[in-house]
Protein backbone atom coordinates (compact mmCIF):
# COMPACT_ATOMS: atom_id res chain seq x y z
CA UNK A 1 0.00 0.00 0.00
CA UNK A 2 1.41 3.37 -0.97
CA UNK A 3 1.99 5.94 1.78
CA UNK A 4 -0.50 8.46 0.45
CA UNK A 5 -3.23 5.82 -0.01
CA UNK A 6 -2.55 4.66 3.55
CA UNK A 7 -2.80 8.22 4.88
CA UNK A 8 -6.00 8.87 2.90
CA UNK A 9 -7.61 5.68 4.17
CA UNK A 10 -6.60 6.51 7.73
CA UNK A 11 -8.09 9.99 7.39
CA UNK A 12 -11.25 8.62 5.82
CA UNK A 13 -11.85 6.06 8.61
CA UNK A 14 -11.17 8.59 11.35
CA UNK A 15 -13.41 11.08 9.54
CA UNK A 16 -16.25 8.55 9.40
CA UNK A 17 -15.84 7.95 13.14
CA UNK A 18 -16.00 11.69 13.87
CA UNK A 19 -19.03 12.29 11.63
CA UNK A 20 -20.79 9.33 13.28
CA UNK A 21 -20.12 10.95 16.67
CA UNK A 22 -21.58 14.26 15.49
CA UNK A 23 -24.59 12.50 13.98
CA UNK A 24 -25.40 10.82 17.31
CA UNK A 25 -26.00 14.32 18.68
CA UNK A 26 -28.34 15.02 15.76
CA UNK A 27 -30.47 11.86 15.68
CA UNK A 28 -33.22 11.39 18.24
CA UNK A 29 -34.26 7.81 17.67
CA UNK A 30 -32.37 5.66 20.15
CA UNK A 31 -32.10 2.80 17.66
CA UNK A 32 -30.53 5.13 15.10
CA UNK A 33 -28.07 6.37 17.73
CA UNK A 34 -27.03 2.79 18.55
CA UNK A 35 -26.56 2.04 14.83
CA UNK A 36 -24.34 5.09 14.50
CA UNK A 37 -22.31 3.80 17.42
CA UNK A 38 -21.86 0.51 15.54
CA UNK A 39 -20.66 2.38 12.46
CA UNK A 40 -18.22 4.34 14.56
CA UNK A 41 -16.97 1.24 16.37
CA UNK A 42 -16.38 -0.43 13.02
CA UNK A 43 -14.44 2.59 11.74
CA UNK A 44 -12.29 2.83 14.88
CA UNK A 45 -11.52 -0.89 14.85
CA UNK A 46 -10.76 -0.69 11.11
CA UNK A 47 -8.11 1.92 11.90
CA UNK A 48 -6.48 -0.70 14.16
CA UNK A 49 -6.61 -3.32 11.41
CA UNK A 50 -5.20 -0.84 8.89
CA UNK A 51 -2.27 0.01 11.15
CA UNK A 52 -1.76 -3.71 11.81
CA UNK A 53 -1.57 -4.39 8.07
CA UNK A 54 0.83 -1.50 7.69
CA UNK A 55 3.03 -2.89 10.51
CA UNK A 56 2.81 -6.40 9.04
CA UNK A 57 1.85 -7.73 12.44
CA UNK A 58 -0.54 -10.68 12.51
CA UNK A 59 -1.17 -10.32 16.26
CA UNK A 60 -2.31 -6.74 15.83
CA UNK A 61 -4.64 -7.64 12.98
CA UNK A 62 -6.22 -10.46 14.98
CA UNK A 63 -6.64 -8.25 18.06
CA UNK A 64 -8.10 -5.41 16.03
CA UNK A 65 -10.51 -7.84 14.33
CA UNK A 66 -11.59 -8.98 17.77
CA UNK A 67 -12.20 -5.34 18.68
CA UNK A 68 -14.21 -4.97 15.45
CA UNK A 69 -16.54 -7.79 16.41
CA UNK A 70 -16.91 -6.39 19.91
CA UNK A 71 -17.44 -2.74 18.95
CA UNK A 72 -19.47 -3.14 15.78
CA UNK A 73 -21.56 -6.20 16.67
CA UNK A 74 -21.62 -7.34 20.29
CA UNK A 75 -21.97 -4.02 22.14
CA UNK A 76 -24.52 -2.54 19.68
CA UNK A 77 -26.59 -5.73 19.92
CA UNK A 78 -26.62 -5.51 23.72
CA UNK A 79 -27.64 -1.86 23.47
CA UNK A 80 -30.35 -2.64 20.93
CA UNK A 81 -31.80 -5.10 23.42
CA UNK A 82 -31.82 -2.37 26.06
CA UNK A 83 -33.62 -0.01 23.69
CA UNK A 84 -36.14 -2.60 22.52
CA UNK A 85 -36.92 -3.65 26.10
CA UNK A 86 -37.34 -0.06 27.20
CA UNK A 87 -40.58 1.84 26.79
CA UNK A 88 -38.99 4.83 25.13
CA UNK A 89 -37.72 5.01 21.58
CA UNK A 90 -36.56 8.62 21.41
CA UNK A 91 -34.26 11.02 23.15
CA UNK A 92 -37.02 13.61 23.27
CA UNK A 93 -35.54 16.34 25.38
CA UNK A 94 -31.79 16.49 25.76
CA UNK A 95 -30.53 18.98 28.35
CA UNK A 96 -29.04 21.04 25.53
CA UNK A 97 -31.24 21.19 22.43
CA UNK A 98 -30.09 19.59 19.22
CA UNK A 99 -29.03 22.73 17.33
CA UNK A 100 -27.08 24.02 20.32
CA UNK A 101 -25.52 20.57 20.77
CA UNK A 102 -24.27 20.64 17.20
CA UNK A 103 -22.78 24.10 17.61
CA UNK A 104 -21.18 22.95 20.88
CA UNK A 105 -19.77 19.95 19.02
CA UNK A 106 -18.22 22.28 16.45
CA UNK A 107 -16.68 24.25 19.30
CA UNK A 108 -15.38 21.12 21.04
CA UNK A 109 -13.86 19.85 17.82
CA UNK A 110 -12.10 23.18 17.32
CA UNK A 111 -10.75 22.93 20.86
CA UNK A 112 -9.57 19.38 20.15
CA UNK A 113 -7.74 20.46 17.01
CA UNK A 114 -6.27 23.52 18.72
CA UNK A 115 -5.02 21.73 21.83
CA UNK A 116 -3.45 18.78 20.03
CA UNK A 117 -1.33 20.88 17.71
CA UNK A 118 1.71 20.25 19.85
CA UNK A 119 1.18 16.48 19.66
CA UNK A 120 0.70 16.58 15.91
CA UNK A 121 3.86 18.58 15.37
CA UNK A 122 5.93 15.97 17.23
CA UNK A 123 5.95 13.71 14.21
CA UNK A 124 4.99 14.02 10.57
CA UNK A 125 3.70 10.45 10.32
CA UNK A 126 0.14 10.06 8.97
CA UNK A 127 -0.95 8.58 12.32
CA UNK A 128 -0.03 11.74 14.22
CA UNK A 129 -2.11 13.85 11.85
CA UNK A 130 -5.27 11.94 12.80
CA UNK A 131 -4.82 12.20 16.58
CA UNK A 132 -6.89 15.45 16.79
CA UNK A 133 -9.87 13.56 15.35
CA UNK A 134 -9.58 10.94 18.10
CA UNK A 135 -9.40 13.69 20.66
CA UNK A 136 -12.43 15.41 19.13
CA UNK A 137 -14.41 12.14 19.40
CA UNK A 138 -13.47 11.94 23.09
CA UNK A 139 -14.85 15.44 23.70
CA UNK A 140 -18.02 14.92 21.65
CA UNK A 141 -18.64 11.62 23.45
CA UNK A 142 -18.19 13.30 26.78
CA UNK A 143 -20.63 16.01 25.74
CA UNK A 144 -23.22 13.40 24.73
CA UNK A 145 -22.69 11.65 28.04
CA UNK A 146 -23.25 14.88 29.95
CA UNK A 147 -26.29 16.25 28.10
CA UNK A 148 -28.52 13.30 27.21
CA UNK A 149 -31.27 12.19 29.56
CA UNK A 150 -32.12 8.68 28.48
CA UNK A 151 -29.98 5.83 29.77
CA UNK A 152 -29.21 4.25 26.35
CA UNK A 153 -28.20 7.64 24.92
CA UNK A 154 -25.85 8.22 27.85
CA UNK A 155 -24.43 4.75 27.39
CA UNK A 156 -23.75 5.56 23.76
CA UNK A 157 -22.06 8.77 24.89
CA UNK A 158 -19.82 6.74 27.20
CA UNK A 159 -18.97 4.32 24.39
CA UNK A 160 -18.24 7.17 21.98
CA UNK A 161 -15.86 8.48 24.59
CA UNK A 162 -14.26 5.05 24.90
CA UNK A 163 -13.96 4.70 21.10
CA UNK A 164 -12.21 8.07 20.99
CA UNK A 165 -9.76 6.97 23.67
CA UNK A 166 -9.11 3.72 21.80
CA UNK A 167 -8.52 5.64 18.58
CA UNK A 168 -6.04 8.00 20.21
CA UNK A 169 -4.27 5.04 21.85
CA UNK A 170 -3.95 3.12 18.59
CA UNK A 171 -2.70 6.18 16.73
CA UNK A 172 -0.31 7.40 19.39
CA UNK A 173 1.24 3.95 19.91
CA UNK A 174 1.12 3.29 16.14
CA UNK A 175 -0.42 -0.11 16.73
CA UNK A 176 -2.62 -2.02 19.10
CA UNK A 177 -0.78 -2.89 22.26
CA UNK A 178 -2.16 -6.34 22.99
CA UNK A 179 -2.41 -6.34 26.77
CA UNK A 180 -3.92 -2.89 27.04
CA UNK A 181 -6.41 -3.37 24.21
CA UNK A 182 -7.59 -6.70 25.57
CA UNK A 183 -7.97 -5.31 29.09
CA UNK A 184 -9.84 -2.19 28.02
CA UNK A 185 -12.15 -4.06 25.65
CA UNK A 186 -13.16 -6.55 28.31
CA UNK A 187 -13.69 -3.73 30.80
CA UNK A 188 -15.96 -1.94 28.38
CA UNK A 189 -17.93 -5.09 27.64
CA UNK A 190 -18.35 -5.67 31.37
CA UNK A 191 -19.44 -2.08 31.92
CA UNK A 192 -22.01 -2.33 29.15
CA UNK A 193 -23.39 -5.59 30.53
CA UNK A 194 -23.65 -4.15 34.05
CA UNK A 195 -25.34 -1.03 32.72
CA UNK A 196 -27.71 -3.19 30.70
CA UNK A 197 -28.85 -4.87 33.89
CA UNK A 198 -29.11 -1.48 35.55
CA UNK A 199 -31.29 -0.04 32.79
CA UNK A 200 -33.48 -3.13 32.85
CA UNK A 201 -33.97 -2.53 36.60
CA UNK A 202 -34.72 1.12 35.90
CA UNK A 203 -37.31 0.18 33.31
CA UNK A 204 -39.01 -2.16 35.80
CA UNK A 205 -38.90 0.39 38.60
CA UNK A 206 -39.85 3.64 36.87
CA UNK A 207 -41.31 2.48 33.55
CA UNK A 208 -38.91 4.90 31.90
CA UNK A 209 -35.26 5.20 30.95
CA UNK A 210 -34.96 8.81 32.00
CA UNK A 211 -31.99 9.07 34.34
CA UNK A 212 -33.47 12.12 36.07
CA UNK A 213 -35.62 9.67 38.00
CA UNK A 214 -32.51 8.57 39.84
CA UNK A 215 -32.08 11.96 41.49
CA UNK A 216 -34.45 11.27 44.33
CA UNK A 217 -33.75 8.78 47.08
CA UNK A 218 -36.37 6.19 47.76
CA UNK A 219 -36.81 3.46 50.29
Amino acid sequence: MSRSAYADLLNLLAGIALVAAVLTLWRRKLIAIVRLLAVQGAAVAAVGILIGIDNDSATEIVLASGALVLKAVVIPLVLLRVVRRGSETRETEPLVNVSASLVAAALLITIAFATTRAVVSLSDSPEAGVIPIGFAIVLVGFFALATRRKAPAQLVGFLLFENGVALVAVLAAAGVSSVVELGVSLDVLLAVLVLQVLTARMQDQFDSLDLDHLQELRD
Partner: protein, 315 residues
Protein backbone atom coordinates in the same frame (compact mmCIF):
# COMPACT_ATOMS: atom_id res chain seq x y z
CA UNK B 1 -11.00 30.46 -31.00
CA UNK B 2 -11.99 33.76 -29.43
CA UNK B 3 -15.46 33.72 -30.91
CA UNK B 4 -16.23 30.27 -29.50
CA UNK B 5 -14.80 31.47 -26.20
CA UNK B 6 -17.36 34.26 -26.17
CA UNK B 7 -20.02 31.68 -26.97
CA UNK B 8 -19.54 29.88 -23.63
CA UNK B 9 -21.51 32.34 -21.45
CA UNK B 10 -24.32 32.57 -24.02
CA UNK B 11 -24.47 28.80 -24.30
CA UNK B 12 -24.60 28.40 -20.51
CA UNK B 13 -27.30 31.05 -20.17
CA UNK B 14 -29.44 29.35 -22.81
CA UNK B 15 -28.80 25.94 -21.26
CA UNK B 16 -29.90 27.12 -17.82
CA UNK B 17 -32.82 29.15 -19.13
CA UNK B 18 -34.36 26.30 -21.14
CA UNK B 19 -32.88 23.49 -19.04
CA UNK B 20 -34.28 24.84 -15.76
CA UNK B 21 -37.95 24.27 -16.53
CA UNK B 22 -37.08 21.01 -18.29
CA UNK B 23 -35.24 19.74 -15.19
CA UNK B 24 -38.27 20.65 -13.08
CA UNK B 25 -40.34 18.68 -15.58
CA UNK B 26 -38.00 15.69 -15.35
CA UNK B 27 -38.14 15.73 -11.54
CA UNK B 28 -41.95 15.84 -11.58
CA UNK B 29 -42.15 13.11 -14.20
CA UNK B 30 -39.83 10.72 -12.35
CA UNK B 31 -41.69 11.37 -9.12
CA UNK B 32 -45.02 10.75 -10.77
CA UNK B 33 -43.81 7.50 -12.31
CA UNK B 34 -42.41 6.25 -9.02
CA UNK B 35 -45.67 7.07 -7.32
CA UNK B 36 -47.57 5.12 -9.95
CA UNK B 37 -48.97 8.09 -11.86
CA UNK B 38 -48.39 8.91 -15.51
CA UNK B 39 -47.41 12.51 -14.81
CA UNK B 40 -47.33 15.57 -17.04
CA UNK B 41 -44.96 15.59 -20.03
CA UNK B 42 -41.45 16.80 -19.34
CA UNK B 43 -41.93 20.07 -21.22
CA UNK B 44 -45.07 20.95 -19.25
CA UNK B 45 -43.26 23.62 -17.14
CA UNK B 46 -42.25 25.35 -20.40
CA UNK B 47 -45.87 25.37 -21.55
CA UNK B 48 -46.94 26.78 -18.18
CA UNK B 49 -44.38 29.55 -18.56
CA UNK B 50 -45.64 30.41 -22.06
CA UNK B 51 -49.16 30.59 -20.70
CA UNK B 52 -48.10 32.79 -17.75
CA UNK B 53 -46.08 35.18 -19.93
CA UNK B 54 -49.12 35.71 -22.18
CA UNK B 55 -51.27 36.83 -19.26
CA UNK B 56 -51.92 40.37 -18.13
CA UNK B 57 -49.71 41.83 -15.41
CA UNK B 58 -51.45 42.33 -12.15
CA UNK B 59 -50.21 43.45 -8.72
CA UNK B 60 -51.93 43.65 -5.33
CA UNK B 61 -53.46 47.01 -4.47
CA UNK B 62 -50.95 48.03 -1.79
CA UNK B 63 -47.84 46.65 -3.40
CA UNK B 64 -44.96 49.04 -4.02
CA UNK B 65 -42.07 48.95 -6.47
CA UNK B 66 -40.31 46.36 -4.32
CA UNK B 67 -42.94 43.82 -5.26
CA UNK B 68 -42.53 44.65 -8.93
CA UNK B 69 -38.75 44.46 -9.16
CA UNK B 70 -38.24 41.42 -6.89
CA UNK B 71 -38.89 38.84 -9.66
CA UNK B 72 -36.62 40.75 -12.00
CA UNK B 73 -33.83 40.83 -9.40
CA UNK B 74 -34.25 37.10 -8.74
CA UNK B 75 -34.16 36.34 -12.46
CA UNK B 76 -31.21 38.65 -13.16
CA UNK B 77 -29.12 37.35 -10.28
CA UNK B 78 -29.79 33.80 -11.49
CA UNK B 79 -28.84 34.79 -15.04
CA UNK B 80 -25.59 36.46 -13.94
CA UNK B 81 -24.72 33.38 -11.83
CA UNK B 82 -25.49 31.14 -14.79
CA UNK B 83 -22.94 33.07 -16.82
CA UNK B 84 -20.31 32.99 -14.06
CA UNK B 85 -20.47 29.37 -12.87
CA UNK B 86 -18.45 27.09 -15.14
CA UNK B 87 -20.89 24.46 -16.34
CA UNK B 88 -19.97 23.61 -19.91
CA UNK B 89 -16.39 24.88 -19.99
CA UNK B 90 -13.85 26.26 -17.56
CA UNK B 91 -12.75 28.71 -20.24
CA UNK B 92 -14.89 31.79 -20.45
CA UNK B 93 -14.40 35.55 -20.81
CA UNK B 94 -15.71 35.83 -17.26
CA UNK B 95 -13.48 33.12 -15.77
CA UNK B 96 -11.48 35.74 -13.87
CA UNK B 97 -14.47 37.03 -11.91
CA UNK B 98 -16.09 33.64 -11.38
CA UNK B 99 -15.38 33.67 -7.68
CA UNK B 100 -16.96 31.23 -5.23
CA UNK B 101 -17.77 33.98 -2.72
CA UNK B 102 -19.28 36.18 -5.44
CA UNK B 103 -21.48 33.33 -6.60
CA UNK B 104 -22.69 32.66 -3.05
CA UNK B 105 -23.50 36.36 -2.64
CA UNK B 106 -25.37 36.51 -5.96
CA UNK B 107 -27.47 33.50 -5.04
CA UNK B 108 -28.28 35.09 -1.67
CA UNK B 109 -29.29 38.31 -3.46
CA UNK B 110 -32.02 36.40 -5.30
CA UNK B 111 -33.25 34.81 -2.05
CA UNK B 112 -33.44 38.18 -0.27
CA UNK B 113 -35.12 39.89 -3.23
CA UNK B 114 -37.87 37.30 -3.32
CA UNK B 115 -38.36 37.48 0.46
CA UNK B 116 -38.70 41.28 0.25
CA UNK B 117 -41.14 40.95 -2.64
CA UNK B 118 -43.20 38.53 -0.54
CA UNK B 119 -43.23 40.90 2.44
CA UNK B 120 -44.21 43.93 0.41
CA UNK B 121 -47.95 43.38 -0.25
CA UNK B 122 -48.45 42.85 3.49
CA UNK B 123 -50.41 39.61 3.27
CA UNK B 124 -50.24 37.03 6.02
CA UNK B 125 -48.91 34.22 3.84
CA UNK B 126 -46.23 36.30 2.18
CA UNK B 127 -44.88 37.47 5.52
CA UNK B 128 -44.93 33.97 6.95
CA UNK B 129 -43.18 32.54 3.92
CA UNK B 130 -40.58 35.30 3.95
CA UNK B 131 -39.84 34.85 7.63
CA UNK B 132 -39.41 31.10 7.16
CA UNK B 133 -37.24 31.59 4.12
CA UNK B 134 -35.01 34.00 6.01
CA UNK B 135 -34.72 31.58 8.94
CA UNK B 136 -33.52 28.95 6.50
CA UNK B 137 -31.30 31.31 4.51
CA UNK B 138 -29.62 32.61 7.68
CA UNK B 139 -28.39 29.06 8.30
CA UNK B 140 -27.68 27.97 4.73
CA UNK B 141 -25.56 30.97 3.80
CA UNK B 142 -22.88 30.32 6.46
CA UNK B 143 -22.95 26.66 5.38
CA UNK B 144 -22.39 27.64 1.76
CA UNK B 145 -19.59 30.03 2.70
CA UNK B 146 -17.86 27.48 4.94
CA UNK B 147 -18.05 24.71 2.33
CA UNK B 148 -16.71 27.14 -0.22
CA UNK B 149 -13.91 28.00 2.20
CA UNK B 150 -13.03 24.31 2.60
CA UNK B 151 -12.94 23.83 -1.17
CA UNK B 152 -10.84 26.95 -1.59
CA UNK B 153 -8.34 25.85 1.06
CA UNK B 154 -7.91 22.45 -0.59
CA UNK B 155 -7.62 23.73 -4.14
CA UNK B 156 -5.71 26.87 -3.20
CA UNK B 157 -8.04 29.27 -4.99
CA UNK B 158 -11.50 30.82 -4.60
CA UNK B 159 -11.75 31.07 -8.37
CA UNK B 160 -14.24 28.40 -9.42
CA UNK B 161 -12.84 27.51 -12.87
CA UNK B 162 -9.38 27.45 -11.27
CA UNK B 163 -10.61 25.12 -8.52
CA UNK B 164 -12.24 22.78 -11.05
CA UNK B 165 -9.09 22.72 -13.18
CA UNK B 166 -7.09 21.91 -10.07
CA UNK B 167 -9.38 18.99 -9.22
CA UNK B 168 -9.14 17.64 -12.77
CA UNK B 169 -5.35 18.00 -12.84
CA UNK B 170 -4.61 16.79 -9.32
CA UNK B 171 -7.46 14.73 -7.86
CA UNK B 172 -5.11 14.00 -4.94
CA UNK B 173 -5.46 17.55 -3.63
CA UNK B 174 -9.11 16.96 -2.76
CA UNK B 175 -8.96 13.30 -1.74
CA UNK B 176 -9.61 14.18 1.86
CA UNK B 177 -12.45 13.81 4.29
CA UNK B 178 -12.69 17.62 4.39
CA UNK B 179 -13.76 17.77 0.76
CA UNK B 180 -16.36 15.03 1.26
CA UNK B 181 -17.78 16.87 4.29
CA UNK B 182 -17.85 20.15 2.39
CA UNK B 183 -19.74 18.53 -0.48
CA UNK B 184 -22.26 16.86 1.85
CA UNK B 185 -22.87 20.20 3.55
CA UNK B 186 -23.17 21.86 0.15
CA UNK B 187 -25.71 19.19 -0.84
CA UNK B 188 -27.90 19.84 2.21
CA UNK B 189 -27.63 23.60 1.64
CA UNK B 190 -28.59 23.04 -2.00
CA UNK B 191 -31.74 21.20 -0.97
CA UNK B 192 -32.62 24.03 1.41
CA UNK B 193 -31.81 26.87 -0.97
CA UNK B 194 -33.62 25.39 -3.94
CA UNK B 195 -36.61 24.71 -1.67
CA UNK B 196 -36.77 20.95 -2.13
CA UNK B 197 -37.68 18.20 0.33
CA UNK B 198 -36.97 17.66 3.21
CA UNK B 199 -36.86 21.40 3.92
CA UNK B 200 -39.76 22.58 1.79
CA UNK B 201 -42.26 20.67 -0.28
CA UNK B 202 -42.51 22.29 -3.72
CA UNK B 203 -45.81 20.55 -4.46
CA UNK B 204 -47.82 21.70 -1.50
CA UNK B 205 -50.10 24.61 -0.84
CA UNK B 206 -50.76 23.66 2.74
CA UNK B 207 -50.24 26.74 4.88
CA UNK B 208 -48.60 24.81 7.71
CA UNK B 209 -45.71 23.62 5.61
CA UNK B 210 -45.11 25.84 2.61
CA UNK B 211 -42.16 28.18 2.40
CA UNK B 212 -41.43 29.05 -1.21
CA UNK B 213 -45.04 28.65 -2.33
CA UNK B 214 -46.20 31.02 0.43
CA UNK B 215 -43.80 33.67 -0.80
CA UNK B 216 -44.95 33.55 -4.40
CA UNK B 217 -48.66 33.38 -3.57
CA UNK B 218 -49.30 37.01 -4.53
CA UNK B 219 -47.53 36.77 -7.85
CA UNK B 220 -49.48 36.15 -11.04
CA UNK B 221 -48.98 36.25 -14.78
CA UNK B 222 -45.59 37.33 -16.15
CA UNK B 223 -44.27 38.11 -12.65
CA UNK B 224 -45.01 34.56 -11.53
CA UNK B 225 -43.40 33.29 -14.71
CA UNK B 226 -40.25 35.26 -13.86
CA UNK B 227 -40.20 33.88 -10.32
CA UNK B 228 -40.71 30.32 -11.55
CA UNK B 229 -38.02 30.66 -14.22
CA UNK B 230 -35.63 32.24 -11.73
CA UNK B 231 -36.20 29.44 -9.22
CA UNK B 232 -35.74 26.68 -11.77
CA UNK B 233 -32.57 28.38 -13.04
CA UNK B 234 -31.27 28.48 -9.48
CA UNK B 235 -32.01 24.78 -9.14
CA UNK B 236 -29.93 24.02 -12.24
CA UNK B 237 -27.13 26.31 -11.05
CA UNK B 238 -26.98 24.61 -7.66
CA UNK B 239 -27.12 21.14 -9.17
CA UNK B 240 -24.52 22.12 -11.77
CA UNK B 241 -22.20 23.54 -9.14
CA UNK B 242 -22.54 20.37 -7.07
CA UNK B 243 -22.12 18.09 -10.10
CA UNK B 244 -19.01 19.86 -11.32
CA UNK B 245 -17.41 19.87 -7.88
CA UNK B 246 -18.30 16.21 -7.36
CA UNK B 247 -17.28 14.88 -10.80
CA UNK B 248 -15.61 17.67 -12.75
CA UNK B 249 -14.46 15.25 -15.46
CA UNK B 250 -16.17 15.84 -18.79
CA UNK B 251 -16.28 19.61 -18.50
CA UNK B 252 -14.53 21.29 -21.42
CA UNK B 253 -11.16 22.80 -20.51
CA UNK B 254 -10.81 24.52 -23.87
CA UNK B 255 -13.28 26.33 -26.07
CA UNK B 256 -13.14 24.42 -29.34
CA UNK B 257 -16.53 23.61 -30.90
CA UNK B 258 -16.09 19.87 -30.37
CA UNK B 259 -15.01 20.37 -26.75
CA UNK B 260 -18.00 22.59 -26.10
CA UNK B 261 -20.34 20.00 -27.62
CA UNK B 262 -18.89 17.27 -25.39
CA UNK B 263 -19.02 19.62 -22.38
CA UNK B 264 -22.67 20.44 -23.04
CA UNK B 265 -23.60 16.79 -23.40
CA UNK B 266 -21.79 15.67 -20.24
CA UNK B 267 -23.25 18.61 -18.34
CA UNK B 268 -26.76 17.63 -19.46
CA UNK B 269 -26.03 14.06 -18.43
CA UNK B 270 -24.68 15.01 -14.98
CA UNK B 271 -27.61 17.32 -14.26
CA UNK B 272 -30.04 14.70 -15.51
CA UNK B 273 -28.58 12.02 -13.24
CA UNK B 274 -28.61 14.39 -10.25
CA UNK B 275 -32.20 15.42 -10.98
CA UNK B 276 -33.35 11.80 -11.17
CA UNK B 277 -31.46 11.01 -7.96
CA UNK B 278 -33.11 14.03 -6.34
CA UNK B 279 -36.59 12.92 -7.33
CA UNK B 280 -35.99 9.36 -6.15
CA UNK B 281 -34.72 10.79 -2.86
CA UNK B 282 -37.83 12.95 -2.61
CA UNK B 283 -40.15 10.01 -3.07
CA UNK B 284 -38.60 8.28 -0.08
CA UNK B 285 -38.26 11.34 2.16
CA UNK B 286 -40.83 13.03 4.31
CA UNK B 287 -40.69 16.74 4.92
CA UNK B 288 -38.95 17.59 8.17
CA UNK B 289 -41.04 19.48 10.70
CA UNK B 290 -40.42 23.19 10.34
CA UNK B 291 -39.04 23.39 13.86
CA UNK B 292 -36.56 20.66 13.06
CA UNK B 293 -35.31 22.34 9.90
CA UNK B 294 -32.83 24.45 11.89
CA UNK B 295 -31.46 21.20 13.35
CA UNK B 296 -30.86 19.80 9.89
CA UNK B 297 -29.23 23.03 8.77
CA UNK B 298 -27.16 23.23 11.96
CA UNK B 299 -25.90 19.75 11.07
CA UNK B 300 -24.90 20.91 7.60
CA UNK B 301 -23.24 23.94 9.18
CA UNK B 302 -21.23 21.72 11.53
CA UNK B 303 -20.28 19.39 8.68
CA UNK B 304 -19.02 22.28 6.57
CA UNK B 305 -17.16 23.60 9.60
CA UNK B 306 -15.55 20.17 10.08
CA UNK B 307 -14.69 20.32 6.38
CA UNK B 308 -12.82 23.56 6.93
CA UNK B 309 -10.99 22.30 10.02
CA UNK B 310 -9.89 19.03 8.46
CA UNK B 311 -8.84 20.83 5.28
CA UNK B 312 -6.68 23.24 7.25
CA UNK B 313 -4.76 20.38 8.89
CA UNK B 314 -4.71 18.29 5.71
CA UNK B 315 -1.08 18.22 4.54
Amino acid sequence: MNTTRALVPILQLLLVFVGGPLIVGVIRKVRARLEGRVGAPIHQPLRDLRKLFAKERIAPEHASWVFVIAPAVLMTSAAVTAVLVPMVSTVSPFAQVSDLVTITALLLLGTVALALGALDPGTAFGGMGASREMTIAALTEPTLLLSVAAISILTGTTNLPGAINEIIDRPGSVSSIGYVLALVALGIATLAESTRLPVDNPNTHLELTMVHEAMVLEYAGPDLALVETGSSMRLVIFLGLLANLLVPWGIATGSGVAELAVGTLTFGLKIGVLAVALSVFEVFTAKVRLFRVPELLALSLVLSFLGVITSVVHP
